[in-house]
Amino acid sequence: MNKYQFICGSGKLDTSVEKSGQGWRVTIGESVYEIDPIHNGLFAIANGERRLFAAGVKHKGIYYIDLGRVQLELTEASDAASIGVADEQHKVKDKVFAPMPGRVVKVLVSVCDEVKERQQLIIVEAMKMENPVSAPAAGKVKAIHFAQGDQVDTESPLVELELP
């Protein structure tokens, strides 16, 4: 029996897995899931009266899971530290990053402005579209590191906030 701990957003889940026929029996708390691999990362899962058709792949430490209607990304707790995701995310709410490399087309706030959660701060143009970058939490603008026309990547923060 293998045991895993997965992180999804702010939640943690402990699972245990054992071989069951052609597939796997996964136990999470009180629930038991029977999962049959089909081929190439596709799985069939008994889900009440229906069978659910899912896809799952691990790539660069992230488990990408497609449940048909819902797609989720998970990490193993043991991997999370090394790839710097999940658990740490709530701590970096004071730094705002671009979702992808692009060009700053507009800066909508000034230093010292009070901003609300989800308020748009900067517009970054990428893939021929204007993409608003919003405040992850309410706070006060401490610093703006880029100006209109600047190229930005995803590594350096666009805006720093002072959280209350």
Partner: protein, 504 residues
């Protein structure tokens, strides 16, 4: 097949539409040439073409918008015709002009019709003369508020003031009664001046909750023009449609016939040839107004193909070769119902923010009446250089409710991992009671979808169970997660060489 229509066709585009056009060429037995930028060396459109030519760096300006480079690629490879797809150069009159000068047939309308229809003011005047209904309003601007009052009165309130240089809602004001007009006019002018440095504004009737209905037309070089019925494109986000369907639930046979006849009238007034699309807005009272004509093959053309049983790209090629419209185009009917969902690299759970990444898993849906027009494959990188459309999913069924059920199943079957999509969002739109009832209009998403729940807590355990099976499975999923863990045909094929003419 009889004598070939063209020796070889260059497809001046990328991704799914380039692939789609090449399929049409293949159906006619015509060899194809792809052009690609450095960012597209591993692209699907390059793989399925018979030959491919590198035309420049990733920046569209230096590659897919570079007319000179594209024309010389066509010359180098001995192409006698060129298909522009949609986007990029498709509606730039300089491309048909350059083709003509190079002795290459442009598969699309003539440069003059393209230029006329690209100019909104000129084409409005032309269509008014042809008797096509336009949104009532002012023809030009005026400094005199009395002119605005007069125009508002004759159009009927509510009206909308728009900036001539406008876009993005700036300098726009909806006016519901005459007493608000003066204030709204001043505000719109101020806003237009701030946004565009130009305070020219004009006024037209405001249509509340209109439907976007467009008609496909085909015209040959022998004076024949037909329409291939409507497509409804009312489900929009960012002012761009993501779900289209045909027939529209809003059209009666009588209205359809009138709008179709007007669509043909528009094409003929413009001296149009080849495939084009005439766009209308339809208001709640059943009145419709000409919006514009798109002088290209549209993204959503497959739903027409499914319902009418015509391959539009094949027809485009035949028309360009000088053939008259065939008899099968003179007795058209709509059979069943078709829906298209656009699969963009965007996060449907986060304001449709574009998403980039590597496609780590890709499997397409299957079943009767399901069609996928795709430009992607497993292992491909989705980058920042181009429009984020990856694929289109199209279903055809005997009736609308079956088409909705089939599309829901197909979206659930369609697995794309590594980049985000709006599949879940679209499933929820399709199954919304108002959509099911056929009550669609252009602000449907704003009105009905903004309050949707986006949580996925109930699914986390299920996802963790699948992840556990992935983790436990004895496959070569290296924990370092090199590209090897994705299933990419490129790793087994190696460098792409066959039929290549790189860097000539």
């Amino acid at each position: 097949m009889a004598s070939q229509l063209f020796k070889k066709i260059l497809v001046a585009n990328r991704s799914e539409i380039a692939v789609r056009v090449m399929r049409g060429c293949k159906a006619l037995g015509i060899p194809t040439v792809a052009v690609y930028s450095e960012a597209d060396a591993h692209s699907k459109h390059r793989m399925i073409a018979d030959q491919s030519v590198l035309i420049g760096p990733p920046s569209p300006r230096e590659s897919y918008l570079n007319i000179e480079r594209i024309i010389s690629a066509a010359r180098e490879t001995g192409c006698d015709a060129l298909h522009p797809g949609y986007g990029f150069l498709a509606e730039n009159p300089l491309l048909p002009k350059a083709c003509k000068e190079a002795g290459i047939v442009f598969i699309g309308p003539g440069a003059d019709a393209m230029r006329l229809l690209g100019n909104k003011v000129e084409s409005r005047v032309k269509m008014a003369d042809a008797g096509v209904p336009l949104i009532p309003g002012m023809k030009g601007s005026s400094a005199d508020i009395a002119q605005f009052e007069k125009a508002a009165e004759s159009a009927g309130y509510p009206v909308i003031i728009k900036a001539a240089a406008g876009g993005g809602g700036k300098g726009m004001r909806i006016v519901r009664e005459e007493s608000q007009l003066a204030d709204a006019l001043a505000a719109a002018r101020r806003e237009a001046m701030n946004a565009f440095g130009d305070d020219t504004v004009y006024l037209e009737k405001y249509l509340s909750d209109p439907r976007h209905i467009e008609f496909q037309v085909l015209a040959d070089h022998h004076g024949h023009c037909v329409h291939l019925f409507e497509r409804e494109c009312s489900i929009q986000r960012r002012h761009q449609t993501i779900i289209e369907e045909t027939p529209s639930t809003a059209l009666t046979d009588e209205l359809r016939a009138r709008m179709g006849a007007d669509a043909v009238r528009v094409a003929q007034a413009a001296g149009y040839t080849n495939a084009g699309t005439v766009e209308f807005l339809l208001d709640k009272s059943g009145k419709y107004y000409f919006l514009e004509m798109n002088t290209r093959i549209q993204v959503e053309h497959p739903i027409t193909e499914m319902v009418v049983g015509v391959d539009l790209v094949v027809e485009q090629i035949k028309v360009a070769a000088g053939l008259p419209l065939g008899d099968h185009l003179k007795k058209l009917s709509q059979r069943g119902h078709a829906i298209e969902c656009r699969i963009y690299a965007e996060d449907g759970e986060n304001n449709f923010m574009p998403s980039i990444g590597t496609i780590v898993h890709y499997s397409e849906p299957e079943g009767p009446g399901i069609r996928v027009d795709s430009g992607i494959m497993a292992g491909m990188d989705i980058g920042i250089h181009y429009d984020p459309i990856m694929a289109k999913l199209i279903v055809h069924a005997p009736d609308r409710s079956t088409a909705i059920a089939k599309m829901t199943d197909a979206l659930e079957q369609y697995k794309i991992l590594g980049v985000k999509t709006s599949r879940r969002f679209m499933i929820e739109v399709l199954n919304h009671p108002e959509f099911v009832a056929g009550r669609t209009y252009t602000s449907f998403i704003d009105d009905h979808m903004s309050a949707r729940a986006t949580g996925s807590d109930g699914h986390v355990a299920l996802a963790a169970a699948v992840a556990s099976a992935v983790a436990a499975a004895p496959v070569k999923v290296s924990s370092g997660g090199s590209r090897k863990s994705s299933v990419s045909p490129w790793e087994s094929v190696g460098a792409w060489q066959i039929g290549d003419t790189i860097g000539e």
